[in-house]
């Protein structure tokens, strides 16, 4: 259905894709993952000639879309595209957004286009928004409308360019549900995404892009759980950890906590555990800044947070190169009311952690806390 042969593309002097080969069967759902700048979106844009490749061929249903003689507008009618930033037509209502192309491009009678649009809107439960304007909708609603707008052209192929990246975390679910339903209906789909759990669930095949091309590909299990090649392994591992570096006495505590919460939200970690991790980070880092470093020396504290699928515990690791002090040794869990106010936070962390290990080696002190 989709065939990419020896595709290369550069921007200025920067080579983004080089000699990419790819074949996608009818009804297949392919997820593309990879670090930013790996050419995921560029590859997607080449599939409907939004980007012109420097060399190579892209064939859709046997039609070479890189050929100048091909009527690209005709081809695009059959290839639906959903963007990260929705790109709904802001001067038109939801209904007008959906019927514009069917009526003006496919020359469908208006009444028929409207009834079809209403049917589609019902499947994404947004029929009552048909007379709203895009700026009156939430991000999740906008993206569902954008999907309906693509579906209204009866596409044979659907391309998704990071469909949930611009959404508030609370709205990701509603959009993924719609895409999941489309995958079940057997649409041929290519999805560029950062939602690994989603990719694992809906994709028939996952492509990991790196080094200007498809670096590793295979079943979701193979790529997302047991990757074989070095960069894939590193990428997947990095996704599962949260890293933060504290290099100033006035570091952005609130920003760090917000990013940690975002990380935890991806794994649906319990609220209590998240609060525990937040507390541990805040108290231990505050302690280290106060007792292990002295101005003018700049602190260098590295935080790594990992979530164990097996034991359902958050593993927090805090490493620093300051003076080696173990505050946890100084408070005892049985001390009861007689806690030094300076150590109250440390005491609380100790109370709610499952395990705390302190070690010191090569000038680096490490706290390993399990919550």
């Amino acid at each position: 259905m989709i065939k990419v042969e020896n595709l290369s593309k550069s921007f200025g002097g920067l080579r983004v894709l080089s000699g990419v080969d790819l074949e996608i069967q009818k009804g297949e759902c392919v997820a593309i993952i990879g670090p930013s700048g790996a050419g995921k979106s560029v590859l997607l844009y080449c599939l409907n000639a939004l980007e012109k490749p420097d060399s190579g061929r892209v064939t859709l249903n046997g039609v070479d879309i890189t050929d100048k003689r091909t009527d690209i507008n005709k081809v695009r009618e059959k290839v639906g595209m959903v963007y990260q930033n929705f790109h709904l037509f802001s001067h038109l209502t939801v209904l007008e957004n959906i019927i514009l192309a069917p009526v003006k491009v496919r020359k469908l009678p208006r009444a028929e286009a409207i009834s079809r649009a209403c049917g589609l809107l019902e499947t994404v439960s947004l029929l009552d928004k048909k007379d709203s304007y895009p700026d009156q909708l939430s991000g999740g609603q906008k993206q569902r409308i954008a999907i309906v707008r693509a579906l209204a052209m009866d596409p044979e192929i659907l391309l998704f360019d990071e469909p949930t990246s611009a959404l508030d975390p609370s709205m990701v679910g509603e959009v993924l549900a719609v895409i999941r339903a489309l995958a079940k209906q057997g649409f041929t789909m290519v999805i560029v995404t950062h939602e690994m759990n989603f990719a694992r669930e809906v994709a028939d095949r996952v492509l990991f892009m790196e080094e200007q091309g498809v670096y590793e590909s295979g079943s979701p299990e193979k790529i997302l759980v047991n990757p074989e090649r070095e960069k894939t392994i590193a990428f997947i591992r990095k996704l599962k950890t949260f890293n933060y570096k504290v290099d100033s006495y006035n570091f952005d505590l609130i920003g760090m906590c917000a990013r940690l919460e975002l990380f935890c939200a991806k794994y649906a970690i319990e609220k209590k555990q998240v609060n525990g991790a937040n507390l541990a980070l805040e108290e231990v880092i505050t302690y280290i800044l106060k007792y292990c470093y002295e101005k003018p020396r700049q602190p260098d504290i590295n935080v790594t947070v990992e979530y164990g699928d097996a034991d359902k515990k958050i593993a927090v690791e805090i490493a620093h190169d300051g003076k080696s002090v173990d505050p946890f040794g100084k408070v005892s869990a049985s001390a009861g009311g007689a806690v030094d106010p300076d150590y109250l936070g440390i005491f609380m962390v100790k109370k709610m952690s499952a395990e705390i290990v302190f070690s010191h080696a090569d000038g680096l002190s490490r706290f390993k806390i399990k919550i």
Partner: protein, 236 residues
Amino acid sequence: MAHSAGIVRLMQIFTQLSESIHANLIAGDSYLYILSGLKVTLLITLAGLFLGTLLGAVLCAMHYSGSKAVRFAARTYIVVMRGTPILLLLMLLFYVVFARTRLDAIHIAIIAFGLNSAAHIAEIMKAALASVDPGQVMAARTLGFTRLGAFYHITLPQAGAYARPVYQNAVINVIQWTSVVGYITIADLTRVINATGARTADPFFVIFLGIVIYLFLAYATHLLFTLAGRKTRTAG
């Protein structure tokens, strides 16, 4: 006593007013003279704007040209025209450029206002086009619209909504600036008002009337644009 003095004063004002109306508007069908001036003002405004809008669109298109020389020409034209007082442009065309032709002064004024407003209108169009989200145009292209189709259905209505209030200001500016065409012998509204006031030696009434007419033109423009804009929404 003070009460009746007030009434007497009021009576005097009414008598003066009716005398003013008679002298400035009715005697010798003077109102027809003022109307003819209004007609000239409207003609120069509308024809000048028509010419200016066409030329402005051309300048705006030149701005998007692939050729550096064409873009430079458009930019230079806009800078020069926006910096040139319209009265000097009028005089240049009337006394120098078209001095030896038989071209009517009104036509010269139309050309001058066309040339001048084109620069402003081109800038308005450029800003309006730049305000349209290119992502929406791309989305239209992926739905199968041709380049022209996407421009017509997406870019144009959105740019139009954005440009409308600014264009309205440009129209009102042209209306008011046409009041200088008297300098090149044209009997426009301002000039006939001036002539009438001089003839009747009662300038206050007729100048005030002139201001009211210009005010009415500005208000009517505003009303027209509001009506035209009621159906379409601005981009948001």
